[in-house]
């Protein structure tokens, strides 16, 4: 019979139409700004900079080595190295980024910067509501906007952050151990020199110079 | 000679004149359509509803579309033909003048000599239908047969021969 299929189809759409008012299960739409789907842990979109402690300027892990800037495929990272040095988490003097800008309108979320960073200083964020009415400045994230605490990192990627923290803690432990050893060695060397100097007072100036030099060498090695 | 008559006459004449003088074939057809609409409006103004509306239905709805379709089917270069050469233009002018003379003489001697007495016949749809179905039934039927023959002929021309055109 002609038109049988049409009637079947019409019945199906009518069932959908009325069913969607009766049965809320049918409607799969999530009303986005009010309702949100639970976030998947592996979500990532744009990079941010991690800092330890409370003060973001002091605790920034980044040492401005500029590896990420060189590796970034669309070249959306811009770093300016500082002239002076600041002590890092373990107290060692390091450079820090005087300027660190990421243009997220250029960023393609490839995560290469995260993979190349030797200091675990840059990680991927989950913040996606970045729309802005400022066409040029709104999407250019500067250092202060990029800096986010380690706690925040823990919050968005718990498993990954725990691993990173463990590795960092191990590294820092080793570092401190080495520093301690080096310091001890330097102290021992200094003590020996001091003893020698006591034995031969006229060469004091040269000996202290030597001591300082050997201390510097030990530090160099520890690094 | 009311204002509306003058306006409609101007539209009709402009449209048909443009249809003759424009270079682009599609523009010619559109201008001709304008002329046809003007003519239909003139019929309507004279109270001949059926004729006026049929004019629109046939000439705007069918003939113009047919011409336009032919142009779309053919290559676009042929749509931009230049106006006719001088000899054809001359012969066309002569034909137009002759036709105009014949019509003018017919109108001037025909209508003005005999005054239309009484009320003009009402050309309603009903009257037209009655005339077609009673007095003019034979011509109508003959035209019907002719058109059917033309339709079948067109169909025969368009049908692909079997075995060809895979």
């Amino acid at each position: 019979m002609l038109g049988e299929g049409i009637i079947k189809g019409l019945a199906e759409t009518a069932r959908n139409f009325f069913g969607s008012y009766v049965n809320k299960e049918r409607l799969t739409t999530v009303q986005y700004p009010e309702e949100r789907l639970p976030r998947i842990e592996a979500t990532r979109d744009f990079p941010f900079l991690v800092y330890d402690g409370d003060d973001w300027e002091k605790g920034l892990r980044c040492v401005a080595c500029q590896i990420c800037e060189k590796e970034c495929p669309p070249k959306c990272i811009y770093i300016e190295k500082s002239k002076d040095k600041k002590p890092d988490a373990v107290g060692k003097p390091q450079n820090y980024p005087a300027k660190f800008d990421i243009d997220v309108s250029v960023c393609m979320s490839c995560q290469i910067c995260v993979e190349v960073c030797p200091f675990d200083a840059i990680k991927m964020d989950v913040q996606f509501e970045l729309s802005s009415d400022d066409r040029f400045g709104g999407l250019l994230l500067t250092k202060d906007k990029l800096a986010k605490s380690n706690e925040y990192y823990h919050e968005i990627h718990p498993t990954e952050a725990a691993g990173v923290d463990a590795a960092l803690a191990e590294d820092r432990e080793k570092e401190k151990e080495k520093q301690r050893l080096a310091a001890a060695a330097a102290a021992a060397a200094a003590a020996a020199k001091a003893a020698a100097a006591a034995a031969a007072p006229p060469t004091t100036v040269a000996a202290t110079k030597d001591g300082a030099g050997s201390g510097g060498a030990a530090k160099e090695e520890a690094k | 000679m009311t204002i509306s008559f003058l306006l409609l006459a101007a539209i009709t004449i402009t449209g048909t004149a443009a249809a003759m003088s424009l270079k682009n074939a599609v523009h010619c057809i559109l201008a001709l359509t304008l002329g046809m609409v003007g003519l239909a409006a003139l019929y309507l103004q004279l109270g001949a509803e059926f004729v006026g509306l049929t004019q629109i239905l046939v000439y705007v709805g069918a003939v113009a579309i047919l011409a336009v379709f032919a142009i779309m089917m053919t290559r676009s270069r042929t749509s931009e033909t230049a106006a006719g050469s001088d000899p054809s233009r001359f012969s066309g002018l002569v034909t137009a003048l002759l036709l105009f003379t014949v019509l003018a003489v017919a109108i001037c001697t025909g209508i003005s000599s005999q005054t239309l007495g009484g009320t003009p016949p009402e050309a309603t749809v009903h009257a037209v239908g009655v005339a077609l179905m009673q007095r003019f039934i034979l011509p109508l039927e003959i035209i019907g047969v002719l058109l059917t023959a033309a339709l079948i002929g067109a169909g025969m021309l368009a049908i692909e021969e079997k075995g060809e055109g895979r």
Partner: protein
């Protein structure tokens, strides 16, 4: 009191015209009616767009627009503002004048056809002697503006869309007109007002609509299929098939000109529905004799909305036809059936009233419908597909 409410708009107009000098009264009356038509049908268009989007959404288990205003009811206003403020881009190589004229002409013709639609008792702008003919004559001018739009854009997509649209409109205009002719035959008049008046009587509680006759229901269904094809609606929306030629003949239009085409499409749909109501569904007549106290204009617009619902329902259900299916259906099914329907309507007139003519007419129409559909099906078997390069 019901009489008073029924004629309230007519009285309002007479009251307004009473303040105008006699010489200007016809002009003033025409302008008032035109303004009323513009306002009412543009409002209905706005309502239909939001209804359609919400209805389609529900049929696909979605919410539909629900952001602009309460329940998304201000969506048409948002759409209008958007299309008004958008940039109007005209292709560089387009035919500027024709490109500009096409949307204007299509909207004018779409509004013009409402002049002969009786929306209520004594509520028609122009009671023409040949009203139905006027409707079809002006409706056929839409094809010309479709061609103008498609050709003047100088785009292959738009030209393809225009060719498809015109081929489809010409093919389906014939069954559309022929299926409407049965109502004209029964009423013995081309005037829309007379046709509605003929249907406004009742037997017991049942109305004398032409729908309730064998030829009437066949004619109505054929008319609605033809109307769907004429207004380029789903499932006959190949002229603007989004997946093939993007938007068809109005692809090169942007901003408000695009909106005008959109308006014209919906107005055309509303107009053909209004004509179907006039011809077969008794126009403004109430469906039962005990409901005549409800104003006539209410019934007209209720029927119009109901028809729109059916259009939306069909759009949400059926996929797009292929070109050869469309042409086969039009020429091999619709046209013969509408001719047989004419014959059936003639038979109905001459046979004695009673069950005889009912059974004869129904049998004739059912049989021809069955045979014609078999004819359609016979051509459905394709050759086995052979692959020359891959196998």
């Amino acid at each position: 009191m019901p009489e008073m409410i029924d004629q309230i708009f007519v009285r309002l107009m007479h009251w307004i015209i009473g303040y105008v000098p006699t010489s200007l009264q016809p002009l003033c009356s025409a302008i008032l009616s035109a303004v009323a038509i513009l306002v009412v049908f543009a409002t209905i268009f706005a309502i239909i767009t939001v209804l359609e989007r919400k209805g389609l959404g529900r049929m696909q288990n979605r919410y539909g627009p629900n952001r602009a205003g309460p329940w998304g009811l201000l969506q048409p206003a948002a759409d209008g503002i958007k299309s008004l403020t958008k940039e109007d881009i005209v292709p560089h190589s387009s035919d500027q004048l024709v490109h500009l004229m096409a949307p204007i002409l299509i909207v004018i013709t779409s509004f013009l056809v409402y002049a002969v639609v009786p929306v209520g008792k004594n509520m028609v702008m122009a009671d023409l002697n040949a009203g139905v003919l006027f409707f079809f004559a002006v409706g056929s001018m839409v094809e010309l503006s479709v061609f103008m739009a498609g050709w003047s854009s100088r785009s292959k997509y738009s030209l393809l869309g225009a060719m498809r649209a015109i081929a489809q409109m010409i093919s389906y205009e014939i069954p559309l007109v022929l299926s409407g002719v049965v109502a004209i035959m029964a009423a013995g008049s081309l005037s829309t007002v007379t046709i509605v008046n003929m249907q406004a009587g009742y037997t017991g509680i049942w109305p004398h609509w032409y729908l309730f006759t064998p030829w009437g229901i066949t004619g109505y269904i054929l008319f609605m299929i033809g109307a769907t094809a004429e207004s380029n609606r789903c499932p006959f929306d190949m002229p603007e098939g989004e997946s093939e030629i993007i938007a068809g003949y109005f692809i090169e239009y942007s901003g408000f000109k695009f909106a005008l085409f959109f308006v014209a499409e919906y107005l055309g749909m509303l107009a053909t529905s209004a004509m179907a109501i006039t011809l077969f569904l008794g126009g403004w007549a109430a469906p039962f004799s005990f409901l005549t106290w409800i104003p006539s204009w209410f019934w007209f617009f209720a029927k119009l909305l109901l028809m729109m619902m059916v259009f939306i329902w069909i759009r949400g259900t059926l996929p797009r036809l292929r070109m050869d299916q469309l042409m086969n259906f039009g020429w091999k099914f619709m046209l013969p059936l509408s001719l047989i329907n004419l014959f059936a309507a003639g038979l109905w007139h001459f046979l004695p009233s009673g069950p005889t003519r009912w059974s004869v007419d129904s049998l004739l129409l059912l049989l021809s419908c069955f045979l014609l559909s078999r004819g359609l099906r016979r051509n459905k078997w394709f050759q086995e597909r052979t692959y020359r390069f891959a196998s």
